[in-house]
């Protein structure tokens, strides 16, 4: 699942990832509120790519909400950030699993996703 208020970003991520790996199925979501609605109604996604800078509910707030609910707590999050400051990178690593800075190559994003998913599988085994 990709959550970003900008349609060109969600489109890029969906198109790019599905092109690189036909096994991926990416859901485009344009706001935090919409994300919570979809999570309530649909199956839980394997991973969420979450933009930090969004109107109304920003990425941090959405992540906090997700971490509060047991079913959602284990969904891995990769943050999308436009700022290069150290604090948001570190916070991104603490709250979520990883982060990637805009603009990025889809290959890099794919590599990060694979790494996070592999870690997840490893944790589930333990």
């Amino acid at each position: 699942m990709i959550v970003d208020d900008l349609p060109e970003i969600t489109y890029t991520v969906k198109y790019g990832l599905e092109k690189l790996n036909p096994d991926y199925e990416v859901t485009r979501v344009e706001s935090g509120k919409k994300c919570l609605e979809i999570l309530n109604d649909s199956p839980i996604p394997d991973l969420i790519i979450l933009d930090i800078m969004m109107p109304e509910m920003n990425g941090w707030e959405l992540a906090k909400t997700l971490k509060k609910k047991i079913e959602w707590r284990k969904i891995p999050i990769i943050f999308l950030t436009a700022t290069e400051d150290e604090t948001s990178k570190i916070t991104g690593r603490i709250i979520g699993e990883d982060f990637i800075e805009k603009p990025f190559e889809i290959t890099d994003l794919k590599n990060k996703i694979e790494k996070v998913l592999a870690q997840k599988i490893q944790e589930n085994k333990n």
């Binding site: 900008l6 060109e8 970003i9 790019g16 092109k19 290069e84 603009p103 990025f104 889809i106 994003l109």
Partner: protein, 488 residues
């Protein structure tokens, strides 16, 4: 109150020297004239005394009664207290013998001096210039008894009375000169202080106060002379300065505000550009990869590399704006310089290999620097990639070395590339400046060295460049504070 000694002293010394020379030469000339005058007087006196003596001893028969002559000259001497010695010398067998004398012991002995006196010459006068007899006048006069010359009179006159009077006079003169000299010095100093030194001190203090930034200081000298004019001009100058400073401060504030607005704008623009760039950076490589038509593929590759360049430009501009802001914080730690350089060189290995450039890291293993690890790597990275850019592929060499001087480490990055002209050296750290105009924009953002300069300056160091000219290679230097390890 502190006196400015140097000016007063110089002028006073000058005046004192000149007046001392004038006073003492006048005194000397005066004494010289006086002594000549009274020496003449003593000569006259001695001459008249011998005349009187000669007139008294009229009869040659007198000379038969030695005792009588002796009594006479002793009597004569006692009447004239200035006479120290009086002798009557008579020749016997062509030698002058002392016939009678106030110096009783010398009677009947040869008279010694003046034996060869020519009687025709008349009286001879003799005054030694100095020594114990300096104040004595010796007169030798022919004995002229009724026209027959028989012998000589030798008379020694003391001039002490006159000399003593002269000494007293001279002492008084010197005393008066000294007193007037001192009076002159003090009045001169007083006038000097009032008229020149005091105003100068006022000027000096005012300049100091103004130098400390208080432009409200005014000089209060109302005299109608050059100093008064100077004070007026000075006050006008400070008023002008104050006005210009107020203006400059206003401009500065506006400028600072504009600058921070510019940085904010750049930051905002940079961040806003990242979003629209994401589809380009994200999708172009995939589309290019999958394109089969070679012509189209080439176009897509051009688009990709331009998008990459745009991304690079945005990142570097944001970095520069960030380095310029005052609230940026560095994580300063002790770093082994050689290791840090090796890390950077390893990362640059593909670029170095591609350009066939040989790099030597000659830095001493024990050198430590105090720096922010990430920024130091960025700095070295920028300098090495810059060196690679301007070094031709064949036999290209980059040498990195470091020198320790007390608490400062100076690092040098030397290449044997195309070198730089003076104009290029002056502008090389300017933003968006490229030494080689022919270089394509895609190869260089023109920001790397500006970033390097900011990083070094934020560490409190300096960065500079040196080149012996076109084609002779370039060396970049930067300095950092030394770390203090076990061996330092």
């Amino acid at each position: 109150m502190h006196i400015n000694f140097s000016i007063s002293l110089k002028l006073t010394l000058l005046v004192v020297t000149i007046s001392a020379i004038v006073i003492f030469s006048l005194t000397y000339v005066n004494i010289q004239q006086q002594s000549e005058f009274f020496e003449d007087a003593y000569y006259e006196k001695a001459f008249s005394l011998t005349k009187a003596l000669d007139a008294s001893i009229q009869n040659p028969d007198y000379l038969n009664d030695k005792q009588n002559v002796q009594n006479y000259i002793e009597n004569f001497t006692s009447l004239n207290p200035d006479i120290l010695k009086l002798s009557v010398n008579i020749p016997k067998e062509n030698i002058l013998y002392i016939f009678a004398s106030t110096d009783v012991d010398s009677i009947d002995k040869p008279s010694g001096a003046y034996n060869d006196l020519s009687y025709e010459e008349g009286a001879v006068i003799y005054i030694p210039d100095h020594g114990e007899n300096a104040h004595r006048l010796t007169m030798l006069a022919p004995m002229n008894l009724s026209g027959n010359i028989f012998g000589t009179y030798e008379m020694i006159l003391s001039m002490d009375a006159a000399y003593n009077a002269l000494d007293t006079q001279m002492r008084n003169l010197i005393l008066i000169s000294a007193i007037s000299l001192f009076a002159m010095i003090f009045s001169f100093l007083y006038v000097l202080r009032r008229a020149i030194v005091k105003p100068i001190i006022i000027f000096r203090d005012a300049t100091k106060v103004i130098g400390e930034g208080n432009l409200n200081k005014k000089i209060d000298i109302k005299s109608h002379d050059e100093l008064g004019d100077l004070a007026n001009a000075f006050n006008n100058m400070t008023t002008d300065l104050k006005n210009s400073r107020t203006k400059i401060e206003k401009y500065n504030k506006t400028l600072e505000k504009l600058l921070s607005q510019k940085d904010e704008f750049i930051g905002q623009l940079g961040h806003d550009l990242k979003n629209p760039l994401t589809p380009l950076i994200g999708l172009l490589p995939i589309i290019t990869e999958q394109e089969k038509d070679p012509k189209l593929k080439e176009h897509l590759q051009l688009l990709t590399s331009n998008a990459e360049y745009m991304k690079e430009l945005i990142f570097k501009t944001l970095q520069l704006a960030k380095l310029r802001s005052s609230n940026i914080q560095f994580d300063i730690q002790q770093l082994n310089l050689k290791n840090e350089i090796d890390v950077v060189l390893n990362r640059q290995q593909p670029l170095l290999k591609e350009n066939m450039i040989h790099v030597e890291n000659m830095v001493n293993e024990e050198i430590l620097v105090q720096a922010d690890k990430l920024r130091l790597e960025e700095l070295l990275n920028n300098l090495v990639s810059n060196a690679v850019k301007y070094t031709p592929n064949e036999n290209g060499t980059i040498i990195i070395d470091a020198v320790k001087d007390k608490h400062l480490i100076t690092v040098s990055v030397k290449d044997n590339g195309i070198g730089m002209t003076k104009e290029q050296i002056n502008r090389v750290f300017d933003e968006f400046y490229r030494a080689d105009k022919s270089m394509h924009e895609r190869d260089s953002t023109g920001l790397g060295l500006s970033i390097a300069k900011r990083i070094v300056e934020k560490h409190g160091g300096k960065i500079w460049v040196d080149s012996t000219g076109k084609g002779k290679g370039t060396t970049f230097y930067f300095s950092l504070k030394s770390g203090y390890g076990k061996n330092n």
